[in-house]
Amino acid sequence: MIAQELLGPAVLVLFVGLILGFAMLGRRWPAVFRPLHGLEALGAAIERAVEAGERVHLSLGTGSVTGADSAPAFAGLAMLSRVAAATAMSDRPVVVTAGDGAMAVLAQDTLRSAYDRARAQDRFQSTSGRMLAPTPFSYAAALPTVLANEDVSVHMLIGSFGSEVALAADFGERQRAFVLAGTDDIQSQALLYVTADHPLIGEEVFAGGAYLNVGPLHRASLRAEDLLRTLIVASILIGTVLRTLGDLV
């Protein structure tokens, strides 16, 4: 029981150590990640949108701040900082929507910080980060209005979604926008595979920060995730073999 109680903290400490270690080794041992077509095409899509005077829309999902469904939304906020920097001086800066009030406030803070870094404080508008609706399907119902009125050409869905994400992605496809979508819910990921041009399957939604070069710790944490995943896979295989051998014996 003590070992079970200590297992969690030990894994946590190991995770933190790996993140910090990879962050320090980052320069001498640069990370090489597998290509993610959606994230790689995102930069070009944003540039095209900026040049064409069209808008980028980022949705942080319908999850709340206080639950486990806030993790993909935080990943979306990390990507938002980069997207906002890229579109700060555009005619139509990025607009962020969320299905939760607290998440909308966090989006506003992230936008404000990005504009401060770009020395464009006067271009920040608080309505750039907004709450569309408090419930998931009403949020999805309000999306077509945003996509049509704001001339959105890049439609990013990075956050916690339910089944309504299929509708949200389909609305973007009907708008002929570049749709990049990722969530933590498995059922929703299956729906996104069918409806979105560039779905992010699995934990790829959490890799957005590393691929967009948000910071060195993002890349380090992704490397730490990969290493821990490998360890878990190895332990599962070993456990399976041992259990099978035990049953055989």
Partner: protein, 697 residues
């Protein structure tokens, strides 16, 4: 500027008519030989006013002097200065006829180097001339002003307004070279008689670097030295520079009285035209230079006869280093080599017509000219060609790029309409018409018997907690799936309590329980109670499971005043003090996360009470491991409409699940057909395109 004003030939400053030197640069304004200037201008034109008067005076003087000196009046076509040349006396007689001086014969072969002759080879006539000049120098040296603290040339600069201080090095030559002879004499002109200078009184050699530091060149007698040196290209004799009037210039006119050396005006006086013929007389080489000046150069290197110079009381001046650095000699060395006067073009248009040495207006400025290069074909270098090719390829690539998608035509979504219409018909027809009717499932889901057994074993005196954690959108499915379970519980008269972590949960619970409970006589406040909305999301689940009474402040649709005490004191919740006091916990959820949250956060607090999961068909794969684990955290699972229909059949009572079964079945068939047709279409188009590509290749 009036007709009487004079323009300085050096700096173009306008000066009064009577000025002899320029007020700015000090250059002589009137030519040294007034008659010569007049002859250059050609036949004088009748002048009016003062300009004509002074010229007439000069002419009259010349004629008078010619008469007095016995000189012949100037013949037309001949320059006057030639006539004024004194007939050579016996001593000044030049070389005998037929004999050319050595320097003249060596003129073509030698460069700018001095023509040195052996001391023993000096002709007699030359010796006589040198001797005479030497005498003149000695006389001039006696009248020389005391030397100043600075170098003599500097002192003369201070006395005179402007004197050229050009070193004697000829134009275009190296400064360290010795100055060449001061211009070749034209062969047609006899050499002026000159006496070789006395060796003792020879003035210091005129070096190219500047005036001899030790002394000054004694000026000719009677003349104040104006300049110590002048550019040798000017061909100005030393005595001229020092103010001595050359013999051939004697009696020239008023300008000779002033004794200031000057050079002939390059610009004719106003009103006087300079004809090419007369302009040629201004050639520097035509000015007579005494030979003694050339001999002085030959004697360069000899110790300056400062001590021996008769009448030269000036100490050898030494220039300080800073002053030595200030010598403007180099600056006077023009960068551009000025062509000889004969080679210079004559301006033929404009206000400077007739002048030499001026920038030609028409061919250079006014008139367009052909480019100097052969412009028929553009000369392209290899690098330029490579760059042009690169730009050409870039332009081609730009054109070949896939441009932005143009605004697509608004096509009618036939496929969307077709599929939507098919689905609508498939769902509506069985509900409206009752046909087609599909057979109910005969296979019992694996987990259904366990659920039925579990419900049968529930104690009747403890309420069951129902968690309604799904959105209104899922009400169509989950109401039908949860309905048989609620029917079973109501058949056993088990009290019910509902809670939700969503604001829309309590209304959904009221709707479902009201619809099913009406048949069983269930009343709010007596048979069931709504604990209400549990705020805080998943974080509140653990708090509720830990202490339900403290977590919920109020209820929903309570029959009495909503106070915390009142709600928990209702008969429905009698005996419930903690989470484990509930008879069972039934979680009705459509999302994976909330289902797992309740299982993981509230499961440890259920104690011995079973936990039942009523889930949407989509999340069943993720919930089943909790049910099938070695230590299951979920005691029973009811998922999907087929399981609900089977449960209704087991209850023996048809409910919403059976009503929806036919529509559900036909809708599934339409979806299956759509997928099959899509696969067939994709395969056919793939085969057709591959076949077309093969045939084309």
């Amino acid at each position: 500027m009036t007709m009487a004003d004079v323009r300085c030939p050096m700096c173009s400053t306008i000066n009064p008519a009577d000025a002899t030197a320029c007020s700015v640069c000090g250059a002589r304004l009137k030519p040294m030989i007034a008659g010569e200037a007049e002859s250059l201008a050609g036949p004088p034109e009748p002048q009016e006013g003062e300009a004509g008067d002074w010229l007439a005076r000069i002419r009259s003087e010349v004629e008078r002097k010619a008469e007095t000196s016995g000189e012949a009046p100037p013949r037309p076509g001949e320059p006057e200065w030639l006539n004024r040349l004194r007939p050579a006396s016996g001593e000044e007689e030049g070389p005998p006829e037929g004999e050319l001086p050595e320097w003249l014969s060596e003129e073509e072969g030698s460069a700018a180097g001095p023509s040195e002759a052996a001391p023993g080879e000096v002709p007699d006539w030359l010796a006589r001339i040198r001797e005479r000049q030497k005498t003149e120098l000695e006389a001039a040296a006696e009248e020389a002003p005391p030397p100043s603290a600075d170098d003599d040339w500097l002192g003369r600069l201070r006395r005179e307004e402007f004197l050229p201080t050009e070193p004697e090095a000829p134009l275009g030559e190296e400064p360290e070279r010795e100055a060449p002879p001061l211009g070749p004499r034209p062969p047609s002109r006899p050499l002026p008689p000159s006496s070789p200078p006395a060796p003792a009184a020879a003035p210091p050699p005129i070096s190219a670097t500047g005036p001899p530091p030790s002394g000054r060149i004694p000026p000719p007698s009677g003349e104040k030295p104006a300049v110590s040196q002048a550019p040798p290209f000017m061909g100005i004799s030393k005595d001229l520079l020092e103010g001595a009037m050359p013999k051939w210039l004697e009696g020239a006119g008023p300008s000779s009285d002033e004794g200031l050396p000057h050079m002939p005006a390059l610009v004719a006086e106003e009103g006087l035209a300079v004809t090419p013929e007369s302009a040629s007389d201004l050639q520097m080489g035509s000015i007579d230079i005494p030979n003694w000046l050339g001999d002085l150069r030959k004697d360069a290197g000899v110790a300056p006869p400062d001590a021996g110079a008769p009448g030269d009381s000036l100490a050898r001046a030494t220039l300080p280093a800073w002053l030595e650095a200030m010598r403007p000699m180099d600056t006077f060395r023009p960068v551009v080599e000025i062509q000889a006067e004969d080679a210079q073009e004559v301006e033929s248009a404009g206000p400077l017509a007739g002048l030499r040495g001026v920038l030609l207006a028409e061919p250079v400025v006014a008139m367009p000219r052909q480019p100097s290069y052969s412009g028929a074909r553009l000369e392209v270098t290899e690098r330029q060609f490579a760059l042009a090719d690169l730009i050409h390829r870039m332009v081609e690539q730009e054109a070949s790029e896939v441009g932005p998608k143009p605004p697509a035509r608004r096509r009618l979504p036939f496929s969307r309409w077709a599929i939507a219409g098919a689905l609508f018909l498939a769902v509506a027809l069985p509900a409206l018409l009752g046909a087609p009717s599909l057979s109910v499932p005969t296979l019992v889901p694996p987990g259904l018997p366990a659920l039925i057994t579990l419900v049968d074993s529930l104690p009747g005196d403890r309420p069951v907690l129902l968690v309604f954690d799904y959105e209104p959108a899922y009400a169509g499915e989950l109401d039908a799936v949860a309905g048989p379970l609620l029917e079973d519980l109501m058949q056993r008269d088990i009290r019910l309590a509902t809670v939700s972590t969503r604001p829309s949960g309590p209304p959904l619970a009221e709707r479902l329980i009201r619809r099913i409970g009406d048949a069983h006589g269930y009343l709010n406040g007596q048979d069931y109670v709504h604990l209400g909305y549990l705020p805080g999301g998943p974080a509140a689940v653990q708090l509720f499971a830990r202490d339900p009474r403290e977590s919920l402040a109020g209820g929903f649709l309570l029959a009495q005043e909503p106070t915390r005490r009142g709600m928990w004191s209702t008969p429905v919740l009698a005996g419930v003090q903690q989470f484990s006091d509930f008879g069972a916990v039934v979680i009705i959820a459509a999302g994976t996360e909330i289902a797992r949250t309740w299982v993981e956060q509230a499961g440890p607090w259920t104690g011995a009470s079973p936990l039942v999961m009523v889930a949407s068909a989509g999340i069943e794969p993720l919930i089943r491991p909790y049910y099938e684990a070695l230590n299951p955290q979920v005691d029973a699972v009811l998922s999907g409409l087929p399981a609900a229909v089977a449960y209704e059949q087991a209850n023996g009572r048809a409910g919403d699940a059976r009503l929806l079964w036919d529509s559900f079945g036909t809708g599934m068939l339409v979806a299956e057909m759509a997928l099959i047709l899509g696969g067939m279409y994709g395969a056919a188009s793939f085969l057709l395109r591959s076949g077309t590509g093969t045939s084309e290749s």
